[in-house]
Symmetry: C2
Subunit: 200 residues, 2 copies
């Protein structure tokens, strides 16, 4: 639950702030149990508020997701920058990808929203998605410069890969997602090289 709030130009009225927080709480709960397609009518009901109020605060579903996840996504981007110091560029990339998958699995249906939002400039989630994609690009670039990752892989590929794996995890199990991720990340190693017998 973020404490940042909705970018208030001036301080919000007390009732507005209260409703904003309640809506966020209930939306988080609803998304957690029903996925990102949960009924917004229901969210408003659970927050004890008319649905018009929900739409006043969050004009779109993506706005709700941004409010719910924006901070965490920026933290994920930050984590990528920290990992730039990790001794093994390939390991760093794998660790970060794993974290990104975990993030994209927060709610059922989230991977789809994240994928849509990165393309759609008008989405409230767009900026957060971009920051994640850009962060991935740094890690990927370092791995490529170190010669431990295929040159033809792009940041967009990495973003799609992470979200695809998260999507698969939503449909089946976290264990399968982890296995898929390890396959795909191994597949990013350059062709014509000997791969370490232990996948680390």
């Amino acid at each position: 639950m973020s404490t940042a709030g909705p970018a208030p130009r001036r301080r919000m009225r007390a009732d507005a702030r209260r409703n904003y927080e309640r809506l966020l709480t209930e939306a988080g709960a609803a998304f957690a149990e029903r996925g990102t397609d949960a009924s917004l009518e229901d969210v408003a009901r659970r927050a004890g508020v008319a649905n018009g109020t929900l739409y006043a605060h969050f004009p779109t579903r993506q706005a709700l997701l941004e409010a719910l996840l924006g901070d965490r996504m920026r933290a994920l981007a930050g984590r990528a920058h920290e990992l730039m110091d990790h001794p093994s560029p390939h390991e760093a990339l794998l660790l970060w990808a794993r974290a990104a998958v975990a993030h994209a699995t927060a709610y059922r249906g989230l991977a789809t929203s994240l994928m849509r939002a990165v393309e759609d400039e008008t989405s409230e989630l767009h900026a957060a998605c971009r920051s994640v994609l850009d962060a991935g690009e740094h890690l990927l670039g370092r791995a490529q410069r170190a010669g431990v990752t295929r040159e033809d892989a792009t940041a967009a590929d990495l973003y799609a890969l992470v979200n695809s794996v998260a999507w698969a995890g939503e449909q089946t199990s976290a264990a399968q997602a982890e296995r898929l991720l390890s396959f795909a990340m191994e597949g990013l190693r350059p062709l014509g090289t000997v791969r370490p017998a232990r996948g680390r």
Copy 2:
């Protein structure tokens, strides 16, 4: 457009048969342009039929998909069996995976349905999905016995992989899907081996 029809215990009435075919045609068109979430009300409208008629013929959306895709899916399974004779087990697996991705990309949203249906025994699509999964298992098994594919990969992994890639393709582009597929399939090679410099 299948000519198999709806498993008629006895011959269908002429009007029923006509409506069945029309519904299938329009559903195919609607799914093609709107994805698998297209409005069924609209499908019925376009077919010039009341929506109750649609539900009489196809009790669920998945029933419609089975009628539309069942034959093609069984053909895909058949293709796997043909490929068992291919000289390169790894190449055979790759070729088949590519065909499976192409199939799962027929409609936007299809990958999700295919993933759901393989888990859900009550789905009308379940049997067709199983036959695809089982077919993949044969190809995968041969590649593993030949020592060109990781032992820890399962048929479920392959199924999930193919559908994840198809999903990514839906969200972005066929080109990116192809790249993701090639990464993942390379990643299926056994650890501790030298990989060919050209991905074939």
